[in-house]
Symmetry: C3
Subunit: 139 residues, 3 copies
């Protein structure tokens, strides 16, 4: 069994944003030399997500509006987490809707994807450098 | 290390529906000859889910109603994704609530499940043929 | 390839609660002797979650309030699942928001985590003994 590990770093300039990280994950699979296995891609932060969906700007605007309705940032004082001096409780909630991680099959040395699947980093408390972990195991 | 891959195909006749795919996944585990490992089961489409819950008709009706409240199909024009000519933006949102994939332990050559766990395909933009990927790695 | 399996048991005294299970999962990784691989941690029940977030009491209060808004317990009769004699339909919904499972990288014999990541058991229909599965594969 082989294994491979890499950290990817991002700094989203707004509080909320989505970044297509598919090329970086594909590059990890190539670099790993693994042809059959599983790749785990997860946010190492608890106010961000890794998820798979469509690379379509309108959809990302829909996600942003919808998540703000489900877990609004304001008023900050509605959240007990923010009593600690934070203002990011909503980001911890949004991240649960979108998920922490994805697990993707590696087949024939490539991400084994349907036509429209792309991996995204979802940021809900940005404006600072944050990390994603890529771990691959297989043969 | 052994690996195994199979695609399962479904065509749900309505826009939204749930299909118990546990027997097909169990058959994949048997066919793989893997006794200890992990199985990944994921939708290859971004408007559908794979999830684990109860095989109970009333619960599925509750999921359908609840998801429609959280991410209503109508009015279609409320979603920027639908400006592209699609009408399925809500399906991309519903799928995030229910999840893309499950990872299940394989122990002694079987799905290592609690009493009530069953794997479902959740369709949110049906009436066409769509795929689920089963990938198993282990020994 | 090595594999390791253990069940963890919990009894949350209220209907809803969160338990930090990170120490038990770390102990499983140590006991497994696996230094590079993946660990799957999942609820074996369909009214409970395993998720990763912050060990902060205020945030857990926020999760409890938010989940009750998204999927209220009362009135019980609003859910068709409860026509079967159950009163826990809401727990099946809450669990989908928070997720069934997490997959975590094992690197150098340890959980490969960001600074604030901690694994939690999320109970939505407690007051009875319930199980979490830990499965580790790797080398």
């Amino acid at each position: 069994m082989k294994s491979y590990r890499r950290e990817l770093w991002f700094e989203v300039p707004e509080r909320l944003g989505f970044v297509n990280i598919n090329p970086q994950v594909e590059e990890c699979v190539r670099a790993s030399g693994i042809s059959e296995g599983l790749v785990l891609v997860n946010s190492m932060h608890i106010t961000a997500s890794v998820f798979i969906n469509d690379d379509e700007r309108g959809l990302h605007a829909d996600y942003a509006r919808w998540l703000e309705e489900l877990a609004p940032h304001e008023p900050i004082r509605q959240y007990r987490h923010n009593d600690t001096g934070e203002d990011n409780a909503d980001a911890h909630l949004k991240r649960q809707v979108m998920g922490r991680e994805v697990v993707v099959a590696v087949t024939g040395g490539r991400l084994d994807f349907g036509t429209w699947e792309q991996i995204f980093y979802g940021e809900f408390d940005g404006r600072r450098r944050k990390r994603v972990l890529v771990k691959i195991i297989g043969e």
